[in-house]
C-alpha cells in the first residue's frame, strides 16, 4: 500500500536516488525539496534511462545552429533565418482525457518553440490508436483529434500534417505526438548562450498557478498506467488556448524588443524545472519567492506551487532595468507578469514561502546531476520466430482487385481527410500544401523559400526489427520531403517505447537509436532535438517500438515544388528504385494475409540517398509533373493516391517476372512513382542514368480508369470512394 511506503518511494524515487539526494544535501531533504527532486529526477524530466544512448545520435551539421540540450533545435535556412522545431509526446494524459490531454500537448510543444524566441508557424500530429472497431478507441481517436484542433485552431498556428496509424498494441496506449515548427531571425534566437547576469530577475507571466497537474506529466509519464489509473487522474489539466495565444504574442514582442536575457517555458516539473534550469544554465543560483507566485487557489503548499504543471506559463529572465517595459508588454496582452526569483552568485537555489526557507539545494543537482542508468538490454525471446514466418512466401488466394480495395480501405492507408478537415491549415497565409501529399509545404513568410515537413514512424517494421524500423522511418521522412523537391536538412524525433526497466524494451530502444543514427549520418540530416516517451504499456501490452521522425526540408523556390498527384493525360509514369519480394511487415500482409511477421524490407542507405538527391535535382530542373513515394501498401497504393489526388487515371504494365502481389504490394524501400511530360523525358532519363538510380517505365496517365495490365481494372472514382469513405464509415459504426 502506497500509504505505508516512505515518502520518497511514493514520489517515485528509488532508495538509491534518495541516498544520492541526502549525499548532495548532507542531510535529509525536506518534503518540498523531496518533491522537487522527485519531479526533476523523474524519467520524463531527467532522461535517466535514455541519456547515455541519446549521446550516440549525430547532432553536428553545417546548418545546425542549436542542437539537443535546449528547448528545441534550430537550423539555418539562409537569409539570416532560423527554423526551430521539436516534437513531443502527450500520450499518457491523452489516454485518460483525450481532448484535454492532446490539447495541452499542443500547448506544451508550442511553448518550447516560443521559448527559443521563434514564431510557431506549423504543427504536425503523428497519432497512433488501437483498431477503430473498439468503441473506446473511437472515443480516444475523436477526442484527441478534436483536442488538437480545438487548441491549435485557437492559437493561430496551422496544423499542416501528421500521420494516423492503427494497431492492436495502441488500444490501451494511444501514442500522441505533436511537432511544432517555428521561424526566427537567426541572430535573435533565445538560447542558454545568452549571458544571464547576477541579480537578474525571473518574471513569471501567463496563467496563475493551480493545484492541477501536481507531479502531472512528469510522474504520469514516468510509470505505466495501471487499470483505472485513479491516482493519476487529477493530474490531467484543462488547456486554455486563448491564454496561449496571448502568451505567444507577448513572448515574441519581448524578444523582438530585446528585453530578455533568457526565456523558459514551464513544462514538466513546472517552476522547479524552469528556475533551476535557467539558473544552472547560467552557472548561477537563484532565490525563489513562492509568495510572489499568483495562485488560482488559496492555501497551496510549497511543494504544490513548486511542482504544479499548470499550463500557459512562461518565465522570462530580465535585467532589473528592463522590468517596467517587460511588465508593460505583458499588461498590453492582458497577462500578469510578476517577479518570482532573482539570480545570485554561487549555484544555490533557495526557496521561500511565508518568509520561511522551504528549500535550499544546488540548482545543478536538480537540472543536470540527476541519476543516469545504463539499463540491461536483451532481444525479445520471440523475435526470431516472429521473423521466421515470412509472408513473402505465403500462398495468396485472393484476387488482385479484392486485395487492392482491402489495402486501399485499410485505416492505415485510407484518406485521413476526416482528421485533416478538423484543423485550420490556412492561418498565417503561407500553407502551400497541407495534409494529403508526401510532405507539407509551408512558405517562409515574405520569401521564395518554403519548408517541407514530414513526420513518420514505422511501428510494424520496428516490431519486427527495431533497427530497420527506425532507419526506415528516417528514410521515409526524408523521401517524403525530397518528393516535393526539398532538400532534407535535419530531424527531430520522438521515441515512443514501453517500460525501460524491461530488458527487451531497452534493447528495442538502443536498436532504434542505432537505426536513427546510421540513417541520419547517411543522409546528413543531424538530430537537433526530440523527446523520449517511455512506459507506454499497460498490463503486458507495450506499444511497438516507434521512433517518430520529424523531418525538416528546404525548398529554395516554392514555385518549383512538386505535387504528389498526376496532372492530366499524356504524361509518362516511371518507377524509381527496384521492387523486391519483400512483404514482411507490409500492409498487404496484415490486411490480406492477417500476418504481422517476417523481416521488414532491406534498406540500402546509399541507394536511398542517391534517390533523394535525384528527386531534388529533378525538381530543381523542373523535370517532374508529380512525385509520390511508395510507402504503406506499396506501388499499387502510390499509383492510386497519385490518381485520386490529381483526378487522373492511368494505365500501367507490371514486370512479367514477379507475382502481381509482389509488384503491387511489396514495400521495398527507396522507391518513388513520378510522372513526366513528353518534352522533359530525355532530360529526365539522362539525369536518372547519371544518378545511377534504377528506372522503370510503367505506363501513361489519362482517362477515368485505373488499369494495371493483367492484374486489375477499376476507376479513379471507385478508388476514391473506397479511399475516402473508409474512416468515416468505421466511425459511424
Amino acid at each position: 500500500m502506497a500509504q505505508e511506503q516512505p515518502l520518497h518511494r511514493q514520489l517515485g524515487l528509488t532508495d538509491e536516488e534518495f541516498g544520492d539526494i541526502r549525499q548532495t544535501l548532507g542531510r535529509d531533504p525536506g518534503s518540498a525539496e523531496l518533491a522537487m527532486y522527485a519531479a526533476m529526477w523523474s524519467e520524463h524530466c531527467s532522461y535517466k534511462s535514455s541519456k547515455v544512448h541519446l549521446r550516440s545520435l549525430p547532432t553536428e551539421g553545417s546548418a545546425v545552429l542549436v542542437g539537443p540540450g535546449e528547448d528545441a533545435g534550430a537550423v539555418d535556412i539562409g537569409d539570416g533565418l532560423a527554423v526551430v522545431f521539436k516534437i513531443e509526446s502527450h500520450s499518457h494524459p491523452s489516454a485518460i482525457e483525450p481532448y484535454q490531454g492532446a490539447a495541452t500537448g499542443v500547448g506544451g510543444i508550442v511553448r518550447d518553440i516560443i521559448s527559443m524566441g521563434a514564431r510557431p508557424i506549423a504543427l504536425l500530429d503523428p497519432l497512433r490508436f488501437g483498431p477503430l472497431d473498439e468503441a473506446r478507441n473511437r472515443w480516444l481517436f475523436e477526442g484527441v483529434v478534436a483536442g488538437i484542433g480545438g487548441y491549435g485552431n485557437c492559437i493561430g498556428v496551422p496544423t499542416v500534417g501528421g500521420e494516423v496509424h492503427f494497431a492492436g498494441p495502441h488500444s490501451s496506449n494511444p501514442t500522441i505526438n505533436v511537432m511544432c515548427v517555428g521561424v526566427a531571425p537567426a541572430d535573435r534566437l533565445v538560447t542558454s548562450a545568452m549571458p544571464v547576469h547576477e541579480g537578474s530577475l525571473m518574471v513569471l507571466y501567463g496563467a496563475a498557478t493551480g493545484r492541477d497537474g501536481i507531479g502531472g506529466v512528469s510522474v504520469l509519464a514516468s510509470a505505466t498506467l495501471e487499470e483505472g489509473a485513479e491516482a493519476s487522474r487529477p493530474s490531467v489539466q484543462i488547456g486554455d488556448p486563448f491564454a496561449e495565444k496571448l502568451l505567444i504574442e507577448a513572448s515574441l514582442e519581448l524578444v523582438e524588443r530585446g528585453l530578455l536575457e533568457g526565456l523558459q517555458d514551464l513544462g514538466g516539473a513546472g517552476l522547479t524545472c524552469a528556475v533551476s534550469e535557467s539558473a544552472a544554465r547560467a552557472g548561477l543560483g537563484a532565490e525563489l519567492d513562492l509568495d510572489a507566485v499568483p495562485l488560482r487557489e488559496a492555501g497551496m503548499e510549497a511543494f504544490e506551487i513548486l511542482t504544479s504543471e499548470s499550463q500557459e506559463r512562461m518565465l522570462a529572465i530580465v535585467s532589473p532595468g528592463k522590468l517596467v517595459q517587460v511588465q508593460a508588454v505583458c499588461e498590453r496582452w492582458g497577462l500578469q507578469g510578476v517577479v518570482v526569483a532573482k539570480t545570485i552568485t554561487g549555484g544555490g537555489l533557495t526557496v521561500r514561502l511565508g518568509g520561511e526557507i522551504v528549500a535550499r539545494v544546488p540548482a545543478r543537482s536538480l537540472a543536470d546531476e540527476g541519476p543516469v542508468y545504463e539499463r540491461p538490454s536483451a532481444p525479445p525471446a520471440d523475435l526470431a520466430e516472429r521473423q521466421e514466418d515470412d509472408p513473402t512466401f505465403a500462398t495468396v488466394t485472393v484476387k488482385a482487385e479484392e486485395a487492392f480495395f482491402s489495402v486501399l480501405a485499410s485505416p492505415n492507408v485510407a484518406s485521413k481527410r476526416w482528421v485533416a478537415e478538423q484543423y485550420d491549415a490556412h492561418v498565417q497565409h503561407n500553407t502551400i500544401a497541407a495534409a494529403g501529399g508526401d510532405a507539407a509545404v509551408v512558405r517562409v513568410d515574405g520569401t521564395l523559400r518554403a519548408l517541407a515537413l514530414s513526420s513518420d514512424g514505422k511501428g510494424r517494421f520496428g516490431h519486427l526489427d527495431p533497427y530497420l524500423g527506425a532507419a526506415h522511418a528516417v528514410a521515409e521522412a526524408a523521401r517524403n520531403v525530397a518528393c516535393t523537391g526539398a532538400r532534407p536538412l535535419a530531424i527531430t524525433n520522438c521515441l515512443n517505447f514501453g517500460n525501460p526497466e524491461r530488458p527487451e524494451v531497452m534493447w528495442q530502444f538502443t536498436e532504434s537509436i542505432r537505426g536513427i543514427a546510421d540513417a541520419c549520418r547517411a543522409f546528413d540530416t543531424p538530430v537537433t532535438g526530440g523527446n523520449v516517451s517511455f512506459y507506454n504499456e499497460s498490463g503486458d501490452s507495450a506499444v511497438w517500438p516507434t521512433p517518430v521522425i520529424g523531418m525538416l526540408g528546404l525548398l529554395a523556390d516554392h514555385r518549383l515544388r512538386v505535387r504528389s498527384g498526376f496532372r492530366g493525360p499524356g504524361t509518362t509514369i516511371y518507377q524509381l528504385g527496384d521492387t523486391l519480394p519483400e512483404l514482411g511487415g507490409s500492409e498487404f500482409a496484415e490486411v490480406v494475409l492477417q500476418m504481422i511477421s517476417g523481416k521488414p524490407p532491406a534498406l540500402e542507405l546509399a541507394h536511398e540517398r542517391a534517390l533523394q538527391q535525384l528527386l531534388v535535382d529533378a525538381a530543381a530542373g523542373d523535370l517532374l509533373v508529380s512525385a509520390h513515394d511508395c510507402g504503406d501498401g506499396g506501388l499499387a497504393i502510390a499509383l492510386a493516391e497519385s490518381a485520386i489526388a490529381g483526378d487522373t487515371g492511368f494505365a500501367v504494365t507490371l514486370p512479367a517476372d514477379a507475382p502481381w502481389y509482389v509488384s503491387l504490394f511489396s514495400e521495398s524501400a527507396s522507391r518513388v512513382v513520378v510522372s513526366v511530360d513528353e518534352a522533359r523525358i530525355a532530360a529526365f532519363e539522362a539525369l536518372v542514368a547519371r544518378a545511377g538510380v534504377p528506372l522503370r517505365r510503367l505506363g501513361e496517365t489519362g482517362g477515368p480508369r485505373i488499369s494495371i495490365d493483367g492484374a486489375l481494372e477499376t476507376t479513379v472514382e471507385a478508388a476514391r470512394e473506397a479511399y475516402e469513405s473508409a474512416i468515416p464509415t468505421l466511425l459511424d459504426a
Binding site: 496563467a207 493551480g210 493545484r211 487522474r233 490531467v236 489539466q237 484543462i238 486554455d240 486563448f242 492582458g334
Partner: protein, 86 residues
C-alpha cells in the same frame, strides 16, 4: 411513466475553467466589478421512460457517469427530477 431530469456537469474543483476566467475578466470593462468565482458548466435536460423514479434516477446517474461527463475532469450532479405522466 415518463420523468424529466436535469443534470449539471461541471469541471472538478481545482481545475482551471478557461470560460469562467474569460467571462470574469470581461465583466469589469462592462462596469461590473463586484462579480467573482464565475464557473461555466453544462446543463443537460432529458426525458426518460421508467417504471419508477428510483429506476430512472439510477439510469440517469449511470448515463451521467459514463457518457455525459468524464470523471477524470468533471463532476456531475442530478439537479432535479419531475414526473411528466405516462
Amino acid at each position: 411513466m415518463r420523468y424529466g431530469f436535469e443534470v449539471l456537469v461541471s469541471l472538478k474543483a481545482g481545475l482551471l475553467d478557461p470560460q469562467g476566467k474569460a467571462v470574469e475578466g470581461s465583466l469589469p470593462a462592462l462596469g461590473w466589478t463586484n462579480v467573482s468565482d464565475v464557473r461555466v458548466g453544462k446543463h443537460i435536460a432529458l426525458t426518460i421512460e421508467a417504471d419508477d423514479e428510483d429506476a430512472a434516477r439510477v439510469q440517469v446517474a449511470e448515463m451521467a457517469e459514463r457518457l455525459l461527463s468524464n470523471p477524470v475532469i468533471e463532476d456531475f450532479q442530478i439537479l432535479s427530477a419531475s414526473e411528466l405522466g405516462g
